[in-house]
């Protein structure tokens, strides 16, 4: 059973009277434990594809199965529950809540999962430790460097034991040294915890960390290569 199974996904946006085909018959299968980089110029459909993978959006036609669940049949709140339990998001701009401590940011997915306060704290501390931010739980985002903020975001993505991390240009706002550290962290999570990582990037050297590169152009997949070596 594949973790992610996208079959002939098409996504059409209507902007006033003009129809924009953002995705045309895209089919992809991603197995558990893969490390995938999604590349392509802007407007190629990769963001739309990631939104659908992340259950933030539904395809116009085609089927998307996540752990054999038909995403197309779910309503708003059911999608929210899937995002909560199955998917960890990491964004280019970190997207942490301001004026909220690191640990509370990490606890957030557990809060919406109805986990009691004590367990939340315990799990959040563990996730922070996992990303190398032990003892930084009380810091607020504006007291942390970019790399540290991104680590908090990764801890937030990990905390609910989601099998998939979707990262949208996670190193876009970071210098090359910090980028490398963040990518090493993704590799560690991928190899040690068997977490599936799908990341969007423009940069070839970031894509080189992955073991499979999917390239988009004009709403279609133009290449899908696996490689043995990083």
């Amino acid at each position: 059973m594949a973790l992610i199974e996208a079959k002939e996904i098409t996504k059409i946006y209507r902007i006033s009277d003009i129809q924009v085909k953002a995705l045309r018959d895209v089919s992809v299968t991603i197995e558990k434990g893969e490390f995938v980089a999604v590349m392509g110029p802007s407007g190629s459909g990769k963001s739309t594809f990631m939104n659908i993978l992340g259950c933030l959006d539904k395809p116009t036609s085609g089927e998307y199965l996540l752990e054999n669940i038909h995403i197309g049949n779910l309503d708003r709140d059911e999608l929210a529950a899937i995002r909560n339990k199955k998917i960890g998001f990491v964004f280019q701009g970190f997207n942490l809540l301001p004026r909220t401590s690191a640990i509370e940011n990490v606890e957030l997915p557990l809060l919406y999962d109805g986990i009691p306060a004590r367990d939340r704290k315990e799990k959040a501390l563990e996730a922070l430790k996992n990303v190398g931010l032990e003892g930084r739980g009380d810091h607020h985002p504006n007291q942390l460097s970019g790399g540290q903020q991104q680590r908090v975001a990764i801890a937030r993505a990990l905390v609910n034991n989601a099998p998939i991390i979707l990262a949208d240009e996670p190193t876009g706002n970071l210098d090359s040294k910090t980028s490398a550290e963040i990518m090493e962290l993704f590799i560690k999570l991928n190899t040690q915890s068997d977490i599936t990582v799908v990341l969007v990037t423009h940069e070839n050297d970031i894509a080189d960390y992955s073991r499979r590169i999917i390239r988009f152009l004009d709403g279609r997949i133009i290449s899908d290569e696996k490689k043995e070596k990083r």
């Binding site: 939104n51 992340g54 933030l56 959006d57 708003r76 709140d77 929210a80 529950a81 995002r83 909560n84 339990k85 998001f89 964004f91 997207n95 942490l96 809540l97 301001p98 004026r99 909220t100 957030l108 997915p109 809060l111 919406y112 999962d113 109805g114 306060a117 937030r156 609910n160």
Partner: protein
């Protein structure tokens, strides 16, 4: 699954970020709740005062006074014709079914002397039922009896002001006072009644049996004449029928033909006071209604600020949604924020309302009464305002598209 403590903490944090804004939004509710409480307090105070006045003159009270005379084209005032008698009073008691008690009154001003103290006061000759008619209990001693009236005994009841002026701290019961040089034994003391609606000291009085007053104090050429007859109707509903019965009975007794005017006047004091009471109640409602408009305006202020807040925090909402917040998680977050604003505003408003009604009663010298009901009402209303006006912004927030919201700068 909704987590109340965390949601509360999130809400408080959000409100703390914009302290000035939150305080100003609350001010709307504070003024609204304060105004409702203060206005209701003024209204309740006014109607309490009126009902106190009603009970001070006696409830369900009807007064019969003699009519006017016309002598040679000159019309005299009401009471210029001595037409009422003890017989009228007795007949009313006997024959009017809507009447419970009757007290004839023959009064005048006289100098009262005790030892070397003296005091001029209104001396009222009446029957024991006076105390029932006027709802006027004794604070000590006993009343005089019907037997005292029959045999014209020289006993008297003192009003509190007379006691204060003649006896000071001494116990007057059993002492003898002289009224117009006639010795009277004090048998009882009337309870303090306070001022009349006209501002007279109702305690500056002295009651004696009506017969004694006729024979020893205010002797007239008409034996059995009385100045006024006071009547207590059986109930408020009976007031009108009592009035009618007295009217027809007295016309018959005074042999007044169908086309002749009455030689007496029946006054229904209670009905007049009740009308006044009714109008203050209407006024209270009106004041409360006007004040609740300001509470409503405060609520709109909350909605306004919450809408701004939702727009400002679009990105935050997007993050929360991406991470797994459901429709009601988002809604509750904003409703609780609105509710906190309105409830804290409500509590501060109660304080403001109570203190401003204290100030009103201090400076404007109006009686104000803050009733627990008005506090509960205003507080509950402010909570409802918070939920009502918080819902739309919360609803709007919960409908945001997470993708759009995440992109919002």
């Amino acid at each position: 699954m909704i987590n109340i403590p965390s949601t509360l903490r999130i809400a408080f944090r959000a409100l703390k970020v914009n302290k000035m804004r939150s305080a100003l939004t609350m001010l709307g509710i504070i003024i609204g709740v304060g105004a409702v409480i203060a206005m209701l307090a003024v209204g309740t105070g006014a109607s309490k005062r009126i009902s106190e006045q009603i009970s001070s003159i006696g409830s369900n009270l009807i007064m019969i006074v003699p009519g006017a005379t016309t002598a040679g084209g000159v019309r005299m005032g009401s009471g210029s014709q001595p037409t009422l008698t003890m017989g009228d009073a007795e007949a009313i008691q006997k024959e009017c079914s809507a009447v419970s008690n009757v007290a004839p009154v023959l009064s005048g001003v006289a100098q009262v002397v005790y030892g070397h103290q003296n005091w001029s006061t209104g001396v009222v000759g009446t029957s024991p039922s006076m105390l029932t008619v006027r709802d006027w209990p004794l604070s000590s001693g006993r009343s005089f009896t019907d037997q005292d009236v029959k045999s014209a005994t020289k006993v008297c009841l003192l009003g509190q002001s007379v006691v204060d002026n003649l006896f000071g701290d001494m116990n007057p019961i059993g002492q003898v006072v002289r009224i117009k040089k006639v010795p009277f034994t004090v048998v009882g003391i009337l309870d303090k009644k306070g001022q009349s609606p006209q501002g007279q000291d109702q305690d500056d009085t002295l009651l004696v049996p009506v017969t004694t007053a006729q024979k020893k104090l205010f002797g007239t050429t008409f034996p059995g004449m009385v100045r006024i007859i006071m009547v207590k109707a059986k109930s408020t509903e009976d007031l009108t029928s009592a009035e009618k019965q007295i009217n027809s009975l007295l016309r018959q007794r005074h042999r007044i033909g169908p086309k002749q005017e009455n030689d007496f006047t029946v006054r229904n004091l209670t009905q007049f006071m009740q009308a006044a009471e009714q109008s203050t109640k209407v006024m209270t409602l009106l004041l409360g209604a006007i004040a609740s408009v300001s509470l409503l305006v405060g609520g709109i202020g909350i909605m306004n600020i919450m809408l701004v807040s939702v727009t400002e925090r679009t990105r935050e909402i997007g993050i929360r949604m991406a991470i797994g917040a459901k429709t009601w998680d988002i809604r509750l977050q904003f409703i609780i924020e609105a509710l906190i604003l309105s409830l804290i505003g409500g509590i501060a408003g109660i304080v403001a309302g109570i203190s401003s009604s204290e100030l009103i009663s201090m400076f404007a010298d109006w009686a104000t009464i803050v009733s627990p009901f008005s506090i509960v009402l205003a507080f509950g209303f402010s909570g409802l305002v918070g939920i009502f006006f918080g819902f739309y912004p919360a609803y709007k927030a919960s409908l945001l598209d997470p993708i759009e919201a995440l992109r919002y700068e």
